[in-house]
Subunit: 374 residues, 2 copies
């Protein structure tokens, strides 16, 4: 295992380019290209970012995208993806990909689940069949999917239940070790996940324990699951200083503009979230000032784009009146165009944050952003 880790270290180096306070600008090197951090990863749950072709993702200059092990395990199955040459080839994304472990979805999406020390039984959302994931199985599935970054199988507890948070955290630690042992491929980086709910002492314990295991990167799980934004920020302030500075830090499932700015301020390098594409399908445009509900009648006669200052394909070519028409008529292109804008907004936000860190003006940038964001 020592050899395996040193091999990973050669491939997955993380260069710190600049730092201002806890905010970091870096480059994470992967077999499918460099990821300039901080970065936001669009989510392609079922090996497709909803409504967006890979060509459109390229034009958005996305670098890292995420796919969900839970969904792909159930359909089309990791064997098929592997047979088709792995996720990169299957979905035509030659750049970095991250897969989660399936842990979060097993706990959040499955109607029936039964946890034991060895793993979790759950009911498939597709056909109701009983399925099982274990730490070893999750790693095996993720090795067959073939993403650049893969995640340890973890247990995510409800944030305010101390007893369950403790148990879930401890099991997550034992499972993290089992994932490391189970891992065979040397061209994938396995990240460990910190749990502990909203309990500072648990988060400290988890961050220390996970950091000791020698992962090439660390994730913070179990946040943005019902706690307040203040609680999330407090947990980040507790956890990030414990995590090794020379490895990337990934805040899982977080993606509102203010959460990105606050996370970067607290030392986070990687984010992912379904928010930009989900909001687009539910008619909301994201801007640096807040959300716009495009279904609102006030936009009916509006010949201006979502954001006059935005350089995305949607804002350069389409009025709010047209987007509203498409959304009212439930036309697919409406969701696509608003998704393009929303993804551009988050990708542009992390690009601006990165420049601000490099130019040592991120704290001002963040303060100004948060003041103007409603």
């Amino acid at each position: 295992m020592a050899e395996q880790q040193s091999s990973e270290k050669d491939v997955f180096t993380f260069e710190l380019i600049a730092q201002e306070g806890n905010a970091r600008a870096g480059i994470f090197h992967t077999p499918h290209g460099d990821i300039e951090t901080p970065i936001f990863a669009p989510v392609g749950t079922k090996a497709t970012v909803k409504g967006i072709t890979p060509a459109e993702l390229e034009e958005l200059q996305a670098s890292l995208i995420l796919a969900n092990t839970y969904h792909l395990f159930l359909r089309p199955g990791e064997e098929l993806v592997n047979e088709m040459g792995g996720l990169h080839k299957f979905m035509n994304w030659p750049h970095p990909i991250l897969t989660d472990s399936g842990g979060f979805q097993v706990f959040s999406l499955s109607s029936m689940r039964k946890i034991d020390e060895n793993g979790v039984n759950f009911r498939s959302y597709i056909d109701g069949s009983i399925q099982r994931l274990t730490p070893e199985k999750s790693v095996e599935v993720q090795e067959k999917l073939g993403a650049d970054i893969i995640m340890a199988f973890d247990e995510c507890a409800a944030p305010y239940d101390r007893k369950y948070s403790t148990e879930a955290m401890e099991r997550t630690h034992r499972w993290a070790e089992r994932c490391l042992k189970a891992k065979k491929r040397k061209d994938q980086a396995l990240f460990g996940i910190v749990q502990g709910g909203i309990f500072p002492d648990l988060r400290v314990e988890s961050a220390r324990r996970i950091s000791e295991l020698g992962f090439p990167g660390h994730a913070i799980g179990g946040l943005s699951v019902g706690e307040t934004k203040e609680e999330m920020n407090t947990m980040l302030e507790i956890v990030t200083p414990i995590l090794p500075a020379n490895k990337p830090r990934y805040l899982m499932g977080v993606g509102s503009p203010e959460d990105l700015v606050n996370g970067i301020l607290r030392g986070i390098d990687i984010f992912d979230c379904v928010l930009p594409t989900r909001l687009a399908r539910h008619k909301a445009a994201m801007t640096f000032q807040g959300r716009i509900n495009l279904l609102n009648a006030v936009h009916t006669h509006n010949s201006h784009p979502i954001d006059e200052t935005c350089s995305c394909y949607t804002c350069k070519n389409f009025s709010r009146a047209y987007l509203r028409h498409l959304l009212v008529a439930k036309e697919m292109v409406g969701a696509t165009l608003v998704s393009i804008h929303n993804l551009h907004t988050l990708l542009e936000l992390v690009r601006r944050a990165r420049r601000a860190i490099i130019e040592q003006r991120y704290s001002d940038f963040a303060a100004e952003f948060l003041e103007n964001y409603h």
Copy 2:
């Protein structure tokens, strides 16, 4: 009116480049660019080609697209489109656009309709309200929408009812004259429509009458509405020789590959159809050899594209296995990718047909195509 027509003639000239038998290659000049004929026009019913952005249409080298007056009249309304600068600007398509008159949809889509000599009352599919279109109103709506090519308001009868076909044809002729009188804009070409069901004598009469009225282009309506392919081809053979050779001929609502090849053989220059995008949403890929149902289990492990010889974005980048996965999972991008392929197939077919006509080998091309198409 004489002045108006000569003004139209200056803008909307039709150059015949080559002819082989009845098949023609030409260029139809419009204010928004040249249309090389024969051409297939993708349908953007509600001012959007379903699942396809204008950028994707550009990449497909589409030249002419169609939008439906019936749908846009009901929502968002021609006033809004006009206020937003017209259809070209509203939907971001700077190339030629054609709008139909609403006649066909009033007769095919509305649950309640009441025809009188002056026009048609019908029930809106959106809110059940009673709406009215007349020849004058259809022209007014189309002038506000602002397409390059607009259509006379016609009445489409069931193909086998001689009595109704006669009445509908005669009313269509009277309405055609009223549309010509109602027309004000000089930067739009108003096409007349030939009706007459599957009755040769009615089609002859209609083609003669409509040709006399001095339209800058002529359409053949009321086909592909339930008659056999042989009947359709017979009607084309009767009608096209009567229509002036120096003006474009448009076969409305027809778009299967074999119908395109057969229509071109009989002197048709312009086609439109929802088939390529509708079939894509219903999982079928169009090829030069026939249709492929991508949901079929036989494609589950197929690492090849829809068509190895196809140069479209979809075939260059995605396997049948991946497309099938997207379609099974009901992912929007599945419909988009198959729509791109299907539109490319029809656009490539008319490009090849045009080259074959120019090179005087279209009859061989058509015979070979029809022999291999199943």
